[in-house]
Assembly symmetry: C2
Amino acid sequence: MHGRTSGETVHLDGNARERFYDSRGYGVPDGDELDLAPVEAAHLLWREDIESVDGQDLQAYLASQPGLAVRFLVYKDLRDRGFYLAPAERWFDGETDVDFAVFPRGEGPWGDAVEYRVRVVGERDDVPVSALGDATLAVVDEESEITYLGTDHEDVTGSSTTDLPSGVPATLLGDRVAVPDAPDGLYERAFYGQPLDRNDGGDLQLSLLEAAHLAGDVLALDREAVLEKGHEVEGERFDRRLCVYTTLRERGVVPKTGFKFGADFRTYADVESVDDLGHSELLVRVLPGDHVFAPRDLALDVRLAHGVRKTMVYAVVGGGEVEWVAVSRLTP
Amino acid sequence: MHGRTSGETVHLDGNARERFYDSRGYGVPDGDELDLAPVEAAHLLWREDIESVDGQDLQAYLASQPGLAVRFLVYKDLRDRGFYLAPAERWFDGETDVDFAVFPRGEGPWGDAVEYRVRVVGERDDVPVSALGDATLAVVDEESEITYLGTDHEDVTGSSTTDLPSGVPATLLGDRVAVPDAPDGLYERAFYGQPLDRNDGGDLQLSLLEAAHLAGDVLALDREAVLEKGHEVEGERFDRRLCVYTTLRERGVVPKTGFKFGADFRTYADVESVDDLGHSELLVRVLPGDHVFAPRDLALDVRLAHGVRKTMVYAVVGGGEVEWVAVSRLTP
């Protein structure tokens, strides 16, 4: 059987509907005949179920359309994993940011359930942060291996609260703040700062974020001076990070530096005492709303978070609001 | 006892030499008296061994000099770990890129052995890649925790060699290359490419780097067309990566994509057969000679590599030569 291109689809004559749609979920029936998307036609070429498309073999057909080779690799991989899938434009009205609707195992285009909304991404493509949250990314690396990344909107909440004293003396020391003879609760219960000496919790060092959050109330420290120093050393990034820091604290989640993990924060949802600290659950990276990822940086973050048994969460800041998006590796 | 600033040093009168130099390694003797660097004076203030410097207490003195608070944190931490150390300018002639000479445990400024050459880096400072190789970085994060990163020049070699056929047909497919019905040795022994189907090693997908390395000899493929596509999708970065790829292959090391680890390559030093592949030893990131790190990105790379039991190596490309620098976490 031979396919021929008609508009944006590949048409198959004869009993193509019976052979390829009814039991195997390819294409859109046209009477007994069938209209295929290019990836579906490529897959049937690969399986040697059809012999050519417009006289071309698989390699020539793949080379004939930009991006088709990469979409074909993902389509084939998902088929190999036992899924039926359809091109997104056939399935979702007006949808443009994903490529495939993947049906639950054992189901197909006859039903109406969708398991994954898959966006195909080449290793060298840009991924705007706004594309994360509803889609599963299928990243095809330069050696044609595929990494699936699940993305979800995350609800970040915790139960950490504490009463704090007020008017504690503090000094701005360059890009950090010293609190000599800090009251016990500040570090021990609320987990602000870091003791200058492990054996003597009296003198604390606070980050500029911690200090900005506490200045003018808990700390007897000029908040404007802290904000000014923050802007001096980090620019607008400081505002975004402070917005996320404050939002986390308001939600009962304790953020501490994620530096050792290359992130902005690691977070603890339920802190009662530093002596009885659990495992931190999230790694948080703060991003502006117009951030664009290189897929490799996503892979790096997700792999690291997995290795330290934490969830990677992007805190996307726009208009003073924070949107939380979790990204993790996924095996379909 | 009170210190007073004289030029760039802090002078202590009385029997300061006996008290602080002879048994504890602070400062430079001046008869019975002593000249201290600012970090040394700050440390004696912290220990309450002296009462003031120019009438200032510890916090006021730390705030009086830019960067002194951060250098003090590292100086104190190394002292706490049982080391004696001296300011670099006192120890190394004309040395400017490190801050401290740290002596082996049990030794001090009386001997001449140096254990670590420590460069103090704030989390927000830039670290040029040229600063790596001889120094130990002491990175002070925003919460004043210190991460030590050892950096070394690395000798990257392996024993992977193989005879390859020539004139194998191949097709450029967008930003990758297809090799239909590839000869056995190409993947199975030399570990080029990736089978399109796991159950059928016949059709290989090669990366542009692999194809550029093999084109015109092993592959019947126009090398110029591959290079042109490489430049189109990666610009100068492609030249750097190809330089490193080629150098690794010439040294008997097999590079494969490091995408899942967020790196350019993972490498295998001794490949005889893909069926009997060992653990990949290195993660390689390719960088131009003028690259400047944010310390957080260094921390991310090093933490990830440690978690997957590999060594993080930066391949720094300049003038067609590659310099290899390994970076790893270190506990002094």
